[in-house]
Subunit: 354 residues, 4 copies
């Protein structure tokens, strides 16, 4: 089996420019915990991207970045409204509930996207001491199913958040894929839409480790952030290596190049499935770096032997094929060829058996 | 000011062999979250060190490793008995209280070391529903003040822990310095003494990031560890880079060489202070990689301009000089020369003023 | 407006026999925190009801009793599967999330009842460190919508709980109403069905305050209960007054008489609505002490001026009419007469306007 | 053994006027959760005592009242500075750590009293992300050892709290004993001294259950109080019975009469010990309703057979004799006679044995 597969963008390695930046930062002593030139350069790069008021704090991983940002902004009796499949809700082992002490209200959505109506429907029990009080909305951009909120959709969410005094949190583990997909600049997606705080993902876009908690504009939660990050076990001592990575990632648009490439590979893979319509249904629009096909059940294991990938929904036989910054067109074509070879045969076999 | 200083061993960079290991691990795709060859090699290296029953889990940082291990083993109504200056108690911003939900009972100690008598004195209120129930003892080895528990001292603590059914936790952010100082093998210090779980530090000993939670023998808390680590936001997705670092650190005794070198530099620095006895008092035995001198107050700032270091106790004018794997004898001599040059003069000045 | 209404069974006062028991217990000094004769008598009464292995702990209120029992039994990475409308999930302001640190997985249900299939559908992600691990099921008996699980339904839930190693928790804020409704003895409903722990409600059945946490058989969580109750702020110092109330409630079947009466009043109220079928639809089977009618929207406020009650579902105009131990047939008839007088007129008015 | 003893003021029963008030409140239906006339009357009584800005919230018990008030006011990374023996720190089974998620910094004190200097010594690490940030001071009035802060002492603590932006919390489980002891009015002790929030105790002063969380003036934490109380499991549904008790307690000075009587009984008991100076040393000034004598070790058990009491400090043989609203002069004299009869004999016996 070839070395690169479609299991997850966090199975990819570190981009060579990032590795070089890590080596370059490895020079003598450097004050721990953030007071170093690399971290400062990274912070400046974020401000260049988002405006001079942006405030940036580095965290180890996405779960930590999400939880620390939300816990810094909210009190435990406040609830977070999020889509039912949100990483925060289903893939973080209850980290927010335990550390933040609050409730997630996860609502069923289509295509992974929360709508203002979904939010409005949760605006009840306000002022009622028995009910958790709506405190935030949290959306993933790009979503867990590879779709991307349009700027208008985000702006509508920002409006409803502002209307109800809710924090607008964006889990951007794959934020670069979203921005590359939308073809807008970061400020358009994050500042003008009213996002209060986001996780700006690095790990899935070519870093070794590291996510940024970014407040596009000043927000009162910033005052609680440093302490909440430390108490949340997300403060790295040798911070320069987080800073150096992000400085390199933001340098010369590497973050967008990496993401745009991954997106293109997903589109290519989806395109190769097009004439297999009667065999394979792609269930979500391919707008970022994931492809979610319904596969003939018998085809799944043989295909996994070609290139590794995960089954996303076992009941409905939906697979998840993720591309990453290092996926090559050859990877895509070889795998697509395998799908063409294997899937229709299994489909036919299944039909004859029926 | 020269580039290397005495502020903290976490201000040092990454050892070249570790950086090389990171680069070598950067090869194609690798399953995330620990199911990779690098992580497995690191785990095997720990078992080679401590015996076949050792179980190892990597975490991002020392706070996370301490808190996750203790929270996995304890219920929130159980208390942790620790020395008053324990990192857990004073340098982790209340992480255990918040994530673990339990109380730390910090007791005043001498030379940073908890004794069995200290523990016995806390064995009250047992079975009393109003009182937190003693659940663990936690000690730092080497201690926050640069001292090292002897094997006999640890064994005595292990005995009292076993006698009262307490978990014996060891915060080994500088565990290598302790083992190098004692000149015993790791098993003697960790297995025979009855340590249930320790943080095996990497960051302060030449890693970029990463600490290991190590159970020398099987312990029931292991069953809770994976979930507690994830819920505690300490699970790195690209785990191979944690594994690769630890595999390299444990390879061919690098961990002990680094630590022994740092210890030697601290001893050298202390030795250079010897004939300054009437000017500078070293207040804790220099057994690992820290030197804690009482300085003439007026000498502190001028000396910090020579090489950076922290004041440990502002009231008593105690400084903390930390050495690290990359401290050179020249660094020590240059700094010691500066102390000789500056400290007596300030002492004299202070005396004349009085 | 008459003094008794249909807003909630906790708006009713204290049963005279309970008040008399409180006065009788008010005699001299009594050891605090449970070591008194009244508490012991109450505990014995529970053992008489459920068998000699039953273990009983008094708590202040239902939220406290639910949360303490679940938190004593579970670790924070374990999830509780419950119906979407469970009191635990929607009326306790996130108490479990904050104190227990864990996640509630609330699933949509019919008639307020969780089924074994609902539970089975949540049995995924087991052993996966990213996912909260199923740890318990929690059901309300009677349910929040006035229905009652049959013994067979509970047994089926107990079976699925045992199959998957889940704690079976029953929120019995209205447990007496359920047992009276089923016409079985308490042991049949609680012991034979495999319930591990329940909240045995007192407040809604004529007490001034007080709920019991009852383990029908020994359960390991009992070891954590005393400490978790105190840490959960649910330990009353003058425990004798909790004990005296429960001893009186369980004496001579008062608990069942109170509940059977409240149930009968609900049935009477529902019966009086029967020929109003085209005007008022009762949306849940009336099996305990609640009646849930869909009302003509315009009739709601005029009816609330007759006797107070709450609107349960504002979108669908479903009201909740609760009866209690002190509801009289006259209360029911007067209110039913008002409904007959007001509701059809509003219905007609609404229709003519349309 | 007579029925009343000296074990604890919470072993006493309910004052007859309170019991009568409970019975009087037991009249028909009443809205749950605080919107009832009894609760409103109690709130008004507090405003009559403290001024029109006072805000009052009832809780079940002292642990709950302390924890809810502090958790509503603080973030988890903030620390509470309190005396080492504070009820909050040693008798609440870690409730604050678990529910509030924060650290208690308990400092050694004399006579149970925190001083401004004690507070100042903890004003370090401010702004340092590794350290919990000082957020509050919490003192007990009267203290756990029966002493009473003077108004000047409280004012000095209020000043230091304001200087450093700390919440000033007062655990007034025995607040009436303190006010009676000082002979000032409640406003002088609570409003002018700068107390931000206190637990105003009822249970130890003749109530069946119930403590009040009182903000003498408006404080921003009030906005979080209702939700924090519910999430903290301290909201009673049949609130009228809490309100009715407090309304009766505050009516016509009953609270002060009860407390003044208990204080007088403690003074009488202490006075009776005066000429036993060589046998019994009273170790804390008797300023409220507790007497703390060092007893001859052999006298303890025989005395406990006369009237029950607890040993406060087993190492130093210090007993705690608590008086309460129902202690009679005869109780005191009978017990004092027993002490005179038993203690000197045991003292002599011990001396002869030595």
């Amino acid at each position: 089996m070839p070395d690169r597969h479609f299991a997850s963008d966090n199975n990819a390695g570190v981009h060579p420019a990032i590795l070089a930046a890590l080596a370059a930062a490895n020079d003598g002593h450097s004050t721990a915990y953030g007071d170093d030139e690399h971290t400062q350069r990274a912070e400046e790069a974020f401000r260049a991207l988002l405006g001079p008021d942006a405030q940036v704090f580095f965290a180890f991983n996405g779960t930590g970045a999400n939880v620390v940002a939300l816990a810094a902004a909210l009190r435990p009796y406040q609830a977070i409204i999020c889509p039912a499949g949100a990483h925060l809700a289903v893939d973080e082992c209850g980290a927010y509930e335990r550390f933040g002490g609050g409730k997630l209200v996860d609502v069923p959505v289509s295509n992974g996207k929360l709508t203002p109506d979904d939010v409005e429907r949760q605006m009840h029990g306000i002022g009622d001491q028995h009910h958790v009080q709506p405190g935030a909305i949290s959306v993933s951009q790009s979503t867990e199913v590879g779709t991307v909120y349009t700027v208008a959709e985000l702006r509508a969410l920002g409006d409803v958040a502002r209307k109800h005094g809710l924090l607008f949190h964006l889990d951007g583990a794959r934020i670069a894929n979203a921005i590359a997909s939308l073809g807008v600049d970061a400020g358009t997606m994050l500042v003008e839409t009213g996002v209060d705080v986001c996780t700006f993902g690095g790990t899935k876009n070519g870093l070794m480790f590291g996510e940024a908690i970014v407040f596009p504009k000043h927000h009162p939660a910033v005052d609680a952030l440093l302490y909440t990050r430390k108490q949340g076990m997300q403060l790295t001592s040798k911070m320069r290596y987080a800073g150096a990575q992000f400085a390199a990632l933001l340098h010369d648009g590497l973050w967008l190049k990496n993401a745009a490439h991954a997106n293109a590979m997903a589109r290519l893979l989806a395109a190769r499935m097009r004439d297999l319509d009667d065999v394979i249904e792609i269930v979500y629009p391919v707008e970022a770096n994931g492809v979610f096909p319904v596969l003939p059940p018998q085809a799944i294991e043989p295909l996994q032997r070609e290139r590794r990938f995960y089954v996303w929904d076992h009941e409905r036989h939906i697979a998840r094929w993720m591309t990453s910054w290092d996926t090559t067109p050859e990877d895509v074509h070889e795998f697509a060829d395998a799908v063409w070879r294997i899937a229709p045969r299994q489909k036919t076999a299944a039909t004859s058996n029926a």
